[in-house]
């Protein structure tokens, strides 16, 4: 069995009648970093909350390492660590107390060495006797992670881990996630920062309006849906495009000095080589040329646009 989390037919309708999840089928593979992307209100947090036992599902089944989250909730939940989006810690507890509390809550025997290691890894060791209320935002975020890791989970959920986090901490967090993956921990992160998914994920799922609209390896996703763009700096500005180039659907910048050609990797549009030949034939010369792959962000925006 390769998938560690198996979600099938899960729906969620809140008491208000709001249908947060339509029908989710999703398998998370053991040891991968899975990024769940979606705009605000798409259902990311609801889905995570269901898997972690915080919200009751309306229908469907979820198993974690083969354990049903309903019938066998103890086994299922003890495998999971959750770092929620909001910074919610008992403000009057010390760092040390709250981390050990979390471990106890998950039924693990106290282990001072492990707790120390977790705090050291997250640069919180010298704050161990400080009350949570005295910590900075970044430290609180790390404390939430320490709490989630305190019981040695095999699956770690990070809900918007880097929302409102500075660049340095973000880099540290990514490094930490990679280390955890090396230890065999499966990581599921939700984000609406595409760069986060792009930098870290093995696979990407896109959720919108309560539906998973796509699950794909990141590389395949980039290859399949990625667009390439070629920008040409012209020697002399053009006022209009010659008729012979109309089949390329080129974009001319407002000052006439730049031509942009957008093409898919798999599209039936003519290639770059033929464009350059045709440009030459039309007597258009260029000083410089630049190509780039579109980012996940652009792919993502396009995907959501295609949605009815």
């Amino acid at each position: 069995m390769s998938s560690i989390i198996s979600i099938s037919g899960v729906t969620k309708t809140y008491a208000t009648g709001f249908k947060a999840l339509k029908e989710i089928n999703l398998d998370i593979e053991r040891g991968e970093i899975f990024a769940l992307l979606g705009p605000n209100g798409a259902g990311k947090t609801t889905l995570i909350s269901i898997v972690c036992g915080i919200v009751n599902r309306s229908s469907g089944t979820v198993t974690v390492d083969g354990h049903d989250i309903g019938k066998d909730y103890r086994a299922a939940r003890s495998l999971i660590g959750l770092v929620p989006q909001e910074l919610t810690i008992d403000a009057f507890e010390t760092v040390w107390a709250t981390v050990n509390y979390s471990r106890g809550l998950f039924g693990k025997a106290p282990n001072k060495d492990f707790a120390e290691k977790v705090l050291r890894d997250l640069s919180l060791w010298d704050k161990k006797d400080a009350k949570a209320i005295t910590l900075s935002g970044g430290m609180k975020r790390r404390l939430m992670i320490a709490k989630a890791l305190s019981h040695e989970p095999r699956v770690l959920f990070l809900d918007e881990p880097t929302a409102g986090v500075d660049v340095e901490l973000r880099q540290d967090m990514w490094a930490m996630v990679r280390r955890l993956r090396e230890d065999g921990v499966t990581i599921i992160l939700t984000t609406h920062y595409i760069e986060e998914a792009e930098a870290m994920a093995d696979r990407v799922g896109v959720i919108n309006r309560g539906e998973i609209i796509l699950v794909e390896g990141k590389a395949e996703l980039m290859r399949k849906l990625g667009r390439k763009q070629m920008t040409l700096e012209l020697r002399a500005p053009l006022t209009a495009l010659p008729d012979g180039l109309s089949r390329y659907a080129l974009e001319l910048s407002s000052d006439g000095g730049q031509l942009t050609y957008t093409y898919d990797n798999q599209s039936d549009r003519p290639g770059v080589a033929s464009l350059i030949r045709d440009l030459e034939a039309a007597g258009i010369q260029f000083r410089d040329l630049d190509t780039k792959n579109s980012s996940l962000e652009e792919i993502f925006v396009n995907l959501l646009r295609q949605e009815p």
């Binding site: 972690c52 009751n56 103890r74 810690i89 008992d90 709490k147």
Partner: protein, 259 residues
């Protein structure tokens, strides 16, 4: 070992410890202030007014009010301890951790209600100790005194737990204790015997459940009661059963916990 059969006792202990630690952190609020207010009751009711009141059932007025005062604190503190303990994590959001932990509802209840009840029992004993400084006390039925103490603390901690789950605002959290429990306690014979009331009021008072708690508790001290002890015990157990039934329903439906 079947993981479903095993209790997560470490979690119970972890929650219980945090709850007790909170009491010691807020020692002023949770211990000293009730002691001060009890002392004030003794000064006002026991000495100033009490000295002009005759003995009730052969007991000096100062001693007569001790069980009622203990009950007053026991009820209000059990409710406020337990309701706050579960409301606060709901309010700040840290309840996510409890809900995502491999903890059964029974364990959550044992930990939170156990913590709240322990605190109010300790408090009740402190009040008893404080009272002993002011008036001569005797406890005729120590076993039943402890039994009523524990039973009441547990029952009203459960009741407080229910309020804490039900409440959506701090105002609601205060509402039930302030508008219902405190009046019922004052009108439940803390400071008088219900036999002192005129006929119709005596009958109305019998609908007040707190009457039975105070009466039974006072009986364990002085062997005198307004209503029979069996009825007192029965009423306490009925209220306990009602609270357990409500809690069971809350947990079965996920009411205001797992929306």
């Amino acid at each position: 070992m079947n993981p479903r059969a095993a209790m997560n006792l470490r979690a119970v202990w972890a929650i219980y410890r945090v709850e007790m630690a909170r009491a010691f952190r807020t020692v002023l609020q949770s211990i000293i202030s009730p002691v001060i207010s009890t002392s004030l009751y003794f000064v006002v009711f026991g000495s100033a007014i009490g000295s002009r009141i005759n003995e009730i059932d052969g007991i000096s007025y100062g001693a007569f009010i001790v069980p009622g005062l203990m009950m007053l604190s026991l009820l209000t503190q059990s409710i406020s301890n337990a309701s706050f303990a579960i409301y606060f994590p709901k309010f700040v959001g840290s309840i996510y951790e409890l809900l995502s932990a491999p903890v059964s509802y029974l364990e959550i209840i044992i930990a939170y209600v156990g913590g709240a009840a322990t605190k109010s029992i300790i408090l009740g004993l402190i009040i008893l100790g404080t009272a002993a400084l002011f008036v001569p006390l005797r406890i005729e039925h120590p076993f039943w005194m402890v039994a009523f103490l524990v039973l009441t603390a547990v029952t009203f901690s459960l009741f407080g737990f229910i309020i804490g789950i039900w409440a959506k605002t701090f105002e609601q959290l205060q509402l039930v204790p302030l508008l219902i429990v405190t009046p019922l306690t004052f009108l439940g014979g803390s400071f008088y015997s219900i036999h002192m009331l005129p006929g119709i009021w005596k009958t109305i008072t019998l609908f007040n459940p707190v009457v039975y708690l105070i009466s039974g508790f006072r009986w364990s001290f002085y062997g005198k009661a307004d209503v029979s002890v069996g009825v007192s015990l029965g009423m306490t157990l009925v209220f306990l059963a009602v609270c357990i039934a409500i809690v069971a329903w809350i947990f079965r439906t996920g009411y205001r916990l797992r929306n």
